[in-house]
Symmetry: C2
DNA sequence: AATGGCCTTATTGTCGGACAATCATACTAT
DNA sequence: ATAGTATGATTGTCCGACAATAAGGCCATT
């Protein structure tokens, strides 16, 4: 505060309205699932025009703090689903020209602990999802895109089994970013497909038996293996991740 | 496709407009920093009313795909900054009632590899930031909030030194979520403050010397220590993270 | 009782026009 | 070169309007 004035802040009405509603949602005065008042009522309550309200609502809608169920009119308070937040993150990463190497390095950080946690916290339901993912991958030996999707589902199932709700949110954008590169890799390096199947089976087995250390080490090997696959597939690790 | 019709999708005009512009941005036809055409021109180009354009713009603005430089009128194409994305993620986590334990577990996953990477990829500039963070923490022995902020800055500096641009984006929301709990902990458990200082110094030293293994193990110990701090500070690990 | 048709009302999506505030720019005077 | 001034472009906000449609109540049919 040494003699300088702080920059005084303007804020357009639509932004202030959005902030006010967001605050109500974040401090739980508006709970998840509550219907929002109609636009006209919001307009009178805030003392602004309906157009202004609508712009604020678009902002909140884009932030996934409010949503509309399909084929319905009233808005309800929502909470951001993993997939939506992941999409936002994916955009951010893509626009920052994140490279395949960086995404892969993050997977190398996240997945082994995820497997370890899954082995410790598994339940019949979460285990079933992993089993299904492994089976689906091995059944689907036909198309590369399907195989790539199968790889993603396996990681998702393992992450979900760990019981930490932050992990799925964080690695979802990574999986989305890698989807294209994975497809290329599986197409170009046929042995990779088989090795992935073996690794999945081993990891699945370790998680099923509750052997955390084994699950971790196999997962580490599994992720490390991707790097060779990318190199064989001719994917330059230092180019920006390809977008769909 | 077995006899079921796919749900045919309407989409309001403002959403289609937003999607069209977003696509142009994501496929780089509109580059970062490019000015957007004025609203009236967009309206005629899309053949819709300016109100519709404005609602679409609010959506893109909230997604941080477009932004306005302070005190200027024209919109420019932007790319989501770390802080904005982190805020969005923090909201999502908070609304999902994520617990202190979950946040802390993620730090336990992310920070040791971050320290390891920092030791391998450090540069004079990134090292200087870590040095400054350690010094600031040890100078600021007065207020708990300041100390908590210092802890955050240390983690940020280490993450930035690793050179992977995804990591800072991912752990930023975790630090924001933990800020409150850290303040409480530092207030309630005075010895914790000293131990944190020691750990920071050791990690800093290891990174400076390029000793990746030492950096990793000290960071692991450092994060593990937080758990004890939380327990001593009377913070229940299984309650939702406190929001500011 | 459940189902489907019909009507009324409430609400949203979109439009057109309007106006003040203010940013951008060119021009002028010092 | 700098500061003032005039002009046009652009945004923020308002008003009023209307078609389309979701919500909800009522009624007849099965």
């Amino acid at each position: 505060m040494n003699g300088q004035f702080e920059t005084l802040s303007f804020a357009p009405g639509y932004r202030r309205v959005a902030a006010a509603i967001a605050e109500r949602i974040l401090d739980r005065r508006l709970k998840h699932g509550d219907p929002l008042p109609p636009e006209t009522e919001l307009a009178t309550q805030f003392g602004v025009n309906r157009s202004t309200i609508r712009e604020a609502l678009r902002e909140l809608e884009s932030a996934d703090l409010v949503a509309r169920r399909r084929g319905t009119k009233r808005m309800v308070v929502a909470r951001p689903a993993a997939s939506r937040v992941a999409g936002r993150l994916r955009h951010a990463f893509a626009l920052h020209d994140v490279t395949v190497r960086e995404v892969w390095a993050m997977l190398e950080v996240l997945e082994p602990p995820a497997a370890e946690a899954a082995a410790l916290a598994r339940t019949p339901a979460t285990l079933a999802r992993i089993t299904a993912a492994v089976a689906a991958y091995q059944a689907d030996h036909a198309a590369a895109p399907a195989a790539a999707a199968g790889v993603g589902e396996f990681f998702r199932a393992v992450a979900a089994a760990g019981g930490n709700r932050i992990l799925p949110l964080m690695h979802e954008p990574l999986l989305q970013l890698l989807a294209v590169a994975l497809g290329v890799m599986i197409d170009a390096a046929p042995p990779a497909r088989a090795r992935i199947g073996v690794a999945q089976a081993r990891i699945h087995e370790a998680i099923e038996r509750g052997d955390a250390e084994l699950a971790r080490s196999w997962m580490a090997k599994h992720v490390r293996d991707f790097r060779r696959g990318f190199e064989i597939g001719g994917i330059d690790l230092d180019t920006p991740v390809p977008i769909d």
